[in-house]
């Protein structure tokens, strides 16, 4: 789960990582009041999850409260990479002497928490990695000991940080690591981490992504930090129903058990000339209520011309799925055609239930995919 800069900075503050004073405004007038109270130049920053806010014009230096109000006026409502700006962060302006990058990620290859630093701060780290990878210094925290002081020093010297500033950097890095592990983060990044003209360390921006499993198990309260405005409404509804759903641009809805098979099902639709409207995994052990919720969620997308069910029973029992499909359909009045493919555990019982309700089930994924593509194309023609 991604959170906003201002929320991530609140977390950094709890770990005594220096961040500027700042308050969130949802109207230009609020932005002006905050700027007046600061009594000096401020920066107005769009609070959206998308990167590249600066380039999009979502970050503006504001010398006076009037300018802050005007900038907030321009930024609020702006669309940055598909996200609408509903909040701005009004924060102290800082005099930058030098910018650095400091970030923590999970490295899947080494199976370690990896801390990265670079002298190239304030630019996208992916760019640095491509153009000048030698400018990214990495250390891998020991799984049992965590991040050692010497590793943070290795980063500091590798990044060319002045000797007098190394201890301060080490403290920030170790606290950032503690914030990462204690909050079950997936990504925690300060970019840029700056030295001010006065020689003080300051986290000018912060990005944090919670690791979903860790959040679910240990940090349920962090759910309050979720910005529902940043997600597709149907995706939020699916999450509440315990379903994994991603909206796509096509017109064939998919309900599949298992993530890998769901992706392969989408790929098969494409192979036979169709376009998937979504990814949806009803998960292991999915019961009637989940299947019914899945149909409801898919039908919130007006583009959907047909739905394909592809259920291969393992944990999920075919008779449960069949009952779920019937229960879901009985709740929803829809004429969207449905093609069902049901195989595996208890699938014969499931198919029998479907047949008794006059629903047909295809034998193979290929047949089912071809049939649903044909049906969807027909529907799409009719509606034109």
């Amino acid at each position: 789960m991604k959170i906003h800069e201002y929320q991530a900075k609140d977390i950094l503050r709890r770990y005594n990582i220096p961040v500027q004073a700042g308050l969130v405004a949802t109207t230009p007038a609020e932005a002006r009041t905050i700027a007046e109270n600061f009594g000096k130049s401020v920066v107005v920053k769009a609070q959206v999850h998308a990167g590249g806010r600066g380039k999009a014009g979502g970050v503006k230096f504001s010398k006076t409260p009037e300018v802050a109000e005007q900038n907030a006026q321009n930024i609020l409502g702006m669309n940055i990479k598909g996200s609408t700006v509903h909040k701005v962060l009004v924060t102290d302006a800082a005099d930058i002497q030098k910018e650095f990058y400091l970030g923590i990620i999970l490295d899947r290859a080494s199976k370690t928490i990896t801390v990265m630093g670079s002298s190239e701060g304030g630019v996208e780290i992916e760019e640095v990695a491509k153009v000048t990878p030698e400018k990214i210094i990495k250390v891998q925290a020991d799984p049992f000991l965590g991040l050692s002081d010497y590793q943070a020093r290795e980063l500091a010297f590798g990044m060319g940080i002045d000797s007098a500033k190394v201890n301060g950097f080490v403290t920030i890095t170790k606290e950032l690591y503690r914030a990462y592990t204690e909050n079950d983060a997936e990504i925690l990044e300060i970019n840029p981490l700056i030295l001010t003209e006065q020689g003080a360390w300051l986290a000018l921006d912060a990005k944090m992504v919670f690791e979903d499993n860790g959040m679910h198990v240990r940090h349920k309260a962090s759910e309050n930090l979720r910005d529902l405005g940043e997600e597709e409404p149907a995706e939020g509804e699916a999450r509440k129903a315990g379903l994994s759903y991603v909206k796509l641009d096509g017109n064939i809805g998919c309900v599949v058990n298992g993530a890998g098979l769901a992706m392969a099902t989408m790929d098969s639709l494409k192979l036979y000339g169709g376009e998937p409207a979504n990814f949806l995994d009803i998960g292991g052990g999915a019961k009637s209520d989940k299947v019914a919720a899945a149909i409801r969620i898919i039908l919130t997308d007006p583009n959907v011309k047909a739905i394909l069910f592809n259920i291969f029973g393992g944990i999920t029992r075919g008779d449960d799925v069949a009952r779920g499909i019937l229960a879901g359909l009985s709740e929803i009045n829809t004429d969207v055609p449905i093609v069902i493919r049901l195989v595996g555990t208890n699938s014969e019982a499931g198919r029998k239930i479907l047949e008794e309700a006059n629903l047909k089930s295809a034998e193979t994924l290929m047949e089912a995919a071809q049939e649903v593509v044909a049906v969807a194309n027909e529907r799409a023609k009719e509606s034109k």
Partner: protein
Amino acid sequence: MSILVNKNTRLLVQGITGSEGAYHTSQMLEYGTPVVAGVTPGKGGTKAHGVPVYNTCKEAVAATRANTSIIFVRAPFAPDAIVEAVDAGISLVVCITEGIPVLDMVKVYHYVRLKGARLIGPNCPGLITPGEAKIGIMPGFIHIPGNVGVVSKSGTLTYEVVNALTLKGYGQTTAVGIGGDPIIGTSFIDVLELFQNDPATEKIVMLGEIGGNAEILAAEYVKEHVTKPVVGFIAGQTAPPGKRMGHAGAIISGGEGTAAEKIAAFKKYGIQVADSPAQIADII
């Protein structure tokens, strides 16, 4: 022959009295898997499906010489269950549980390796040597014994492919689901090495998906070390970047981990790539 599990496996079920644990224990027994013990703390001395239940793994191993365990314990307690199994001397731990915090797995992964044990999963369907032992939640009846080794990140996608293989008469030595989490105990490469060294395995099927670079490393490994023919499939060609596709590990991030780059690596290193799961059986 086969890899990892066979009729001599002595299986311990952790979480045997929970609903999933109980259901799948009955399924595994029905398949003929030698389930020798179960563990549920506080339920020691009872029986589940005729299998003796113990309070701890240590007791279970001492009493039954169990050598393999399967875990159905809920996510908050599963990391502890893995460590308990390893400390009790279990050499192969199969963790079915989905939703384990990734940072827990960082520690557990390295702990299991340090102790010289092997972990499969988490968030996996388990593994099966057809006709001998089913250590997992897959439907047993779609598998038949044969000479094809199957390794996959996915559960149901594996069933799909195995089913297609079986219908065409291609049996399997062992089918291994390694799991879809960012950190898993056993990688594609680990299983490829086992299949390469297993005389009964003549062909290998490898099923990958978007996210991470494990498939690319595996393809490089195939080029260097695998002499048996390998057929591959990568799920998620239609997946958008930045979106997690169900599996915790299935996400294209920073433009990396796409299906296209993995398919390109497969082709570059001599792995035949199928366009659809069903096509795998045709190529084999």
